[in-house]
Amino acid sequence: MKDNTMNEPTDNVATNIEENAFSGQTVGTPLCDDAKMSMRNVNVFYDTKQAIHDVSLDIGKNEVVAMIGPSGCGKSTFLRCLNRMNDTIESCKVTGDIKLEELDIYHPKQDVVPLRARVGMVFQKPNPFPKSIYDNVAYGPRIHGLVNRKYDLDEIVESSLRRASLWDEVKDRLHSPGTGLSGGQQQRLCIARTIAVSPEVILMDEPCSALDPIATAKIEELIAELSQKFTIAIVTHSMQQAARVSHRTAYFHMGKLVEVNDTKRVFTNPEHELTEAYITGRFG
């Protein structure tokens, strides 16, 4: 798997910084006491190529953790391990422990469908189903059998759309196609669809990279609100976005987790020189 955006000028960072500049020991505070998800010694391989090297990280309850790093550093790959999205890739092999509270999500008997209801995902490009706005949001609760009565379903659709700050804009056209909305609205619709099944963790893979600044600001506002109820892990190419929305920031470099620290610390006084080089836009 590759990151979709390979045209970043930062591509060279990975190749220009010598590999031995990083010892392999993550600096900062990758672990926390109140972990919702905990990953230990995670390695990911695509055939023989190793994409993630021995990454250990906790994501705290109601915490927003941002993952940043140059293209190809493995941040998206790592995010996709958290709800077994990588299962769809034949050559992909994951080792190590990934737990959602006490649940070992890579246990051979673990079914991915209920797992993905607990760990939802929002993608880079808004991808509403070719259905009505209402059906987009109702889809999850229906297939997971969360409701029996139409009345309850209406309520879930409304509250999800409200929580995604989209209700006021679409309440009069719930039965028009979701694909007819603007890009920013579509992305909020996807977020509403994700939260309709009441997940515990939301993974966001560059949720704003296809959106304009206004729509981006709305999503960022939404992330702050959602963190009251959900745990959020977000991969972003915009460092300012990481700085604005997250509590902790994790910096990945060539498949290794270099530094995890409080976001304020990372953006004012990072501990590792590779983090410093990346966030200030320098070569190593």
Partner: protein, 238 residues
């Protein structure tokens, strides 16, 4: 993060912008340092020409403060600097303010020099002014050097030197008060000397502030309102 580089950004123009901020701040610092030397010399030698010059140059310093502030605002708005880049921009804005205030104090001293020049006669206190002037000028030189080289040790030396300036100020004040009590006719002139010493003491405080900004710039540590011991402890911890 001990190693600070202004260069090596992917955007070359960003390198240029930051380098420009630093060199403009140093230039302003050099000008202010010369103002201190001139103002003290005007007091010491009762030279009204030098005093007039100090008063004139003060306008230039004010203009530089405004220009530097604008340059910092532009970098913040256009580049959204982070980490050491952000600390550099913040340091320059704070430092500019201190430099401008030092310029104000030098301006005050120059005015005292003019007043003393008009009523010149053998008066005590000049020696103290010369001595304290030399001390703060050295602090100024050191702190600019510390900023130019991102040198924390040197910045710490400046903070220590400020203690000495404070001590000198207190003892000179006691001496002048005794003098005024002995000869009330000298009060108005003694007061001028006293204000001069007070200005020099304030310059020492501003130089110490700049030294603290330099420590923040290099180490990311906010050591304001800390004692020297506390500063050393924090720096050793890193």
């Amino acid at each position: 993060m001990d190693k600070l580089h202004l260069e090596k950004h992917i955007s070359h123009q960003f390198d240029v912008d930051l380098e420009e901020l630093k060199s403009q701040a140093l230039e302003m610092g050099g000008l202010v340092e010369q103002q201190i030397i001139d103002a003290v010399s005007a007091i010491e030698h009762g030279d009204s020409d030098i005093a007039e010059r100090v008063i004139k140059v003060e306008d230039d310093i004010d203009l530089r403060e405004v220009a530097l502030d604008e340059a910092c605002t532009n970098v913040l708005a256009c580049r959204q600097p982070a980490a050491s880049d952000l600390r550099l921009v913040l340091t320059v804005t704070k430092m500019t303010r201190d430099l401008e205030r030092i310029g104000d104090e030098a301006h005050k001293i120059a005015k005292m020099a003019l007043a003393l020049h008009e009523s010149a006669d053998g008066l005590t206190g000049y020696e103290e002014a010369r001595h304290m002037g030399a001390l703060v000028q050295r602090m100024m030189q050191q702190v600019l050097d510390a900023f130019a080289r991102f040198d924390v040790e040197k910045a710490l030396d400046v903070a220590k030197a400020d203690k000495q300036v404070d001590r000198e100020y207190k003892s000179a004040m006691r001496e002048l008060v005794t003098y005024m009590m002995e000869d009330p006719r000298s009060i108005s002139r003694s007061m001028n000397i006293l204000w001069t010493l007070r200005s020099l003491e304030r310059i020492g405080d501003h130089a110490r502030n700049i030294a603290e900004h330099v420590i923040f710039l290099v180490k990311g540590l906010d050591v304001r309102h800390s004692s020297i011991k506390e500063m050393e402890r924090q720096l050793n911890k890193r």
